[in-house]
Amino acid sequence: MSRTSAAPARAPAAPVSTPSLRERLLPLWDGITSLKLTIVCLAALMVLVVACTLAQVHLGTWGAVHAYMRSWLVWWDIPGTVLSLPIFPGGALAGLVLAVNLLAAQFRRLELSWKKAGLWVVHAGLILLVAGEFVTGLYQKDNRLSFEVGETTNYVFSPREVELAVIDTTDPNLDDVYSIPGSLLSRESLVQVPGTPVSVRVKRFMENAQLGRLPEGEAPQATAGVGTQVAVRELPPVTSDDAVNVAAALVEPIAGGRSYGTWLVSGALGAPQGFVHEGRSYQLVLRERREYLPYALTLRKFSHDVYPGTDIPKNFSSLVHLVNPRAGEARDVLIYMNQPLRYAGKAFYQASFGKNDTLSILQVVENPGWLLPYVSCVLVTVGLLVHFGIALSRSVRGQARKQQGAAVGAAEA
């Protein structure tokens, strides 16, 4: 008889209790829906707002917003090294967690009843506010348009993005512009220009560079074009409001299996550069990234008004003639401070001027989510009013019931 068989018979064991998936996810669900997480996220966003505001001194508005508010993590560059450490959640991460937290809490805690209608609306407004910032971060385009009095332009440009424009200038009336964005240039790879026999091998891309005369005895990096007489030195990119990156690149156009040499292209070079392949003329231009418009704007007049007897600016305005052949539209528009032209999804604001008041610069903002913050604010306001209205109504009814009860009691007494 084995020892096993000699063992006394045990009572049937109770089934082992293994936690179900639902029970295992419960703590996570609790965490996601907790009010503490809401407060932590709101506190993190407040810290970010303060840090971002202070950082604008060194990074400029655009640099600070991207480093603190539109990033997933805030990074700290360890001095003296090339290493960076994440030290704080960025605005994107805090906002996403807050949106998930609000959404989850909404589903978990709030009853689907008229009694809680106000809170539903408030939550929806807050979620929309966070979602609106994501839409803005992903889709907003912040461009510029500059023209002199009498000049007509049909494009806007991004002051913080570059493009390598390969322009087929063969047609006497129209140019075929092929725009290779800076994001592709930075990969330093071979880029095929669709619809043409031309490929461009990007040998080196510099987000910011300094150009100067090539010193005697120094070999140029370019083998063709004006770049053979130019020395180029890469600089760290700048983000502050009063500094501009001067991008440069060394590119090798290849067409029909033939190399046309290595060209230096940069916004700081004024000379035209181009080559001819199979009877077609091509130009290479590195410039601020353009977006062409299906309509044109002509600056008729720019006004710089001052208060009488002073040099203090009172108003800047641009009288613009808008022509849209597709819509059969031709009209004058006055753009002045805080009164933008809103047209075809874009808002044209008066932003700057120059050249003795003959040059006008407009800021052109395109944001498909521009209405979301307004809708969000309305929702939160309406939600709070509804909620307090319901609470007030319940309170009044309760008071009335109490008074009625007291009156009945007094009558019975």
Partner: protein, 217 residues
């Protein structure tokens, strides 16, 4: 509605919301990726605009701001070149960046005739000859190759070095270019375009080159 504190299992409603969020994220990612594509626009030609200083004035270039239209290249001190315009040709001052003049011959096809003046040696003869060759896809040549391709044209303004290059390929481009060093400046008179058009206008262009003379101010 579930009471507070009770976990809500993944409901069809939540599942739909999660799927919707994933779809939105995927669409956003796709939209973001589209910015990385090469875009094509067909646009009317614009007036030539320089972005910063020209090479002639280049010291430390660091701008990037849009600038004014470039006026026709200035006539160097001591006077400029003049020539006799062949019959039927037209001439306009400037016409592009660094251009002193733009000429239009009365021939069909694509052809461009420019006169450009730059201070000093403008990089030297060999660099400019190779630049012209490079513009039509020809490989660079050395001093010996340049000397064998050079044709010297004697004019009232001195000797002109004349070069004639034809590209390879099925549709050929031809360049006839002359270079002169005068009064510390480099003058470039160049005709380039479709081989047939350049051949048609070539004799008249050579006559024009032979007529150049220095005009003192």
């Amino acid at each position: 509605m579930p009471a507070e504190g009770v976990m809500v299992p993944a409901s069809p409603r939540l599942d739909r919301a999660a799927r919707g969020a994933m779809l939105a994220l995927a669409l956003a990612a796709v939209a973001g990726c589209q910015r990385d594509e090469v875009a094509h626009f067909k646009v009317p030609k614009e007036r030539p605009v320089v972005q910063t200083a020209s090479m002639a004035g280049m010291g430390s270039m660091g701008g990037g701001q849009a600038g004014a239209d470039l006026a026709p290249a200035a006539v160097p001190e001591g006077g400029g070149l003049v020539w006799t315009l062949p019959q039927g040709w037209k001439q306009a001052q400037g016409g592009g960046q660094m251009r002193y003049a733009t000429l239009t011959p009365p021939v069909p096809g694509k052809v461009d005739v420019s006169v450009i003046v730059l201070p000093g040696s403008a990089g030297g003869e060999l660099a400019n000859v190779n630049r012209w060759r490079n513009q039509i896809g020809l490989p660079p040549i050395d001093e010996a190759g340049m000397a064998s391709g050079r044709r010297v044209l004697k004019t009232a303004a001195g000797d002109l070095s004349v070069y004639d290059f034809v590209s390879e390929g099925t549709k050929r481009t031809r360049t006839i270019a002359a270079l002169a060093q005068l009064e510390g400046s480099s003058w470039f008179l160049k005709m380039t375009g479709d081989a047939e058009a350049v051949a048609a206008a070539g004799p008249a262009f050579l006559d024009l080159l032979g007529s150049v003379r220095l005009e003192s101010h």
